[in-house]
Amino acid sequence: MEITAWEKVKLARMSVRPTGLDYINQILDNFIEFHGDRYYGDDHAIVGGIASFGGVPVTVIAQQKGRNTKENIVRNFSMPHPEGYRKALRLMKQAEKFHRPIICFIDTPGAFCGIGAEERGQGEAIASNLAEMILLRTPILTVVISEGGSGGALALGVADRVYMLEHAIYAILSPEGFASILYKDASKAEQAAEDMKLTAQDLLNFGIIDGIVAEPQGGAHNDPQQVAENIKIILENDLKELLELPVDQLLRQRYQKFRKI
């Protein structure tokens, strides 16, 4: 049965859906979380650290949703502040220094909109990630696991390979926000979801992502282990391929990947 764009939006936001940490724990061994951006604080909406991926040391960064209200308050509903993006960049630079590949899991409604976020330069933090990631001399693999919301998602999305889960979405704005801006009516979100072309299938057709990770019937939460296994197989293949490339070629390809859009 065909699932509509709006149904995918709802699926992607389900609280039972596996989160970044779920995949980290299933796919990677010996995960050690590191904290803080070294400037201001530690953002719980983004987790990061080092781990072993089939014996290869990697740096992993994930936007982290909570499972319930209490967890979501701690995680700020996975809406990062500038310090979250700066922590991510710090860990990515560290990965470059120690020749570790980087794996990112995107899952955010968007970067947080608030006074503190503006005071501390949300725009500058995201912009820096975009500009720095394109030059990082180590492979970067990104998977959009549920919601890829706007610049707040893209800030972990400048990668050599970008995948989406079958029912994940990736868009310029939430369908509700989009509807209120373009249709002057937030209740037209369902229509907006269709018009925006935000599904994994749309983005693959556009050539914006590299592939789709299959989910079980009904969604990833019905068999998280299988989904983790699917992600693992894809990333393992890619990593092998990318680690064999001379770094200059890797960077040329990464530039071209975004240049052609």
Binding site: A111, F112, C113, G114, I115, A117, E118, E119, G121, Q122, G123, E124, I126, A127, S128, L130, A131, I134, L135, S150, G151, L154, A155, G157, V158, E166, Y170, A171, I172, L173, G177, F178, I181, L182, D195, M196, K197, L198, L204, N205, F206, G207, I208, D210, G211, I212, V213, A214, P216, D223, Q226, E229, N230, I231, I233, I234, Y255, F258, R259, I261
Partner: protein, 304 residues
Amino acid sequence: MNLNPFRAKKYAISKIYRTRPQEIERPRDIPEGERPNVPQGIMTKCPQCGYMIYTKNLTKNNKQCQECGYYFKISAYDRVTMIIDDGTFEEYDKDLITEDPLGFPEYDSKLKRTQIKTGLADGIVTGKGKIHGIEVMLGVMEPAFFMGSMGTVIGEKLTRLFEQAIAERLPVIVFTASGGARMQEGIFSLMQMAKVSAAVAKHSEAGLLYITVLTDPTTGGVTASFAMLGDIILAEPGALIGFAGPRVIQQTIGQKLPEGFQRSEFLLEHGFVDRIVPREQLKQTLGTILKLHDNLGTEAKGLN
């Protein structure tokens, strides 16, 4: 469960749409000297203080109210005239228009109307010119074109500008004025943030100078990409500059925003702008900065 992990593996090359905007004929020819957005009528009313200004004087006065100092929004071509030495501007990619990558409802007709209204194919003017005799690549966003929103054309024109600047070893100056990403081009607009930022990074890696001048308003995806990537970031006084718009923030946090929030002066105070420069001093300031970097192109050439 027997699931194929590769429901769709690798690049689906055959399915990739052509997304690079194509050059086509402009909707109409703009007669020489006729510029869009010049206020009509003999008198123009200042929206801030209500003063009635002779339109002719307004243009002479850098589009500033002589009573209260309010800056009127300035069209891209007027900005070029204000900043670039007379007769030195060579425009690039003037006729690049969007392919409407999503086939978004009613976008095409709205585009055509805006093109006729503004005399522009899309929301930015790019090209090469001189400031006080120094060659520079210039991009100026047009606030009247879909509120300066960035879609594939702005992304492509800026990327080409930076690539050309790398090839010619020239500095780049970009005047930003944008409500953010162009909604009607969806995910393609979002990806322009990565594309332009990549070109900025390459330009920077080549040791070349990039200056941004933030004008009212600079928000959303433009702030979160090339606006904030300048080696030197200047701003016009009182410009709204931020990631999220004030209305969105107010809705999110449900409290009133402090006075002066997200204005140039606020950004200066928080360390995100190098300098606030009044409009009438912009050319002088840019000229001085360029002069102090004038060795870059030739020196690096000498090293090769």
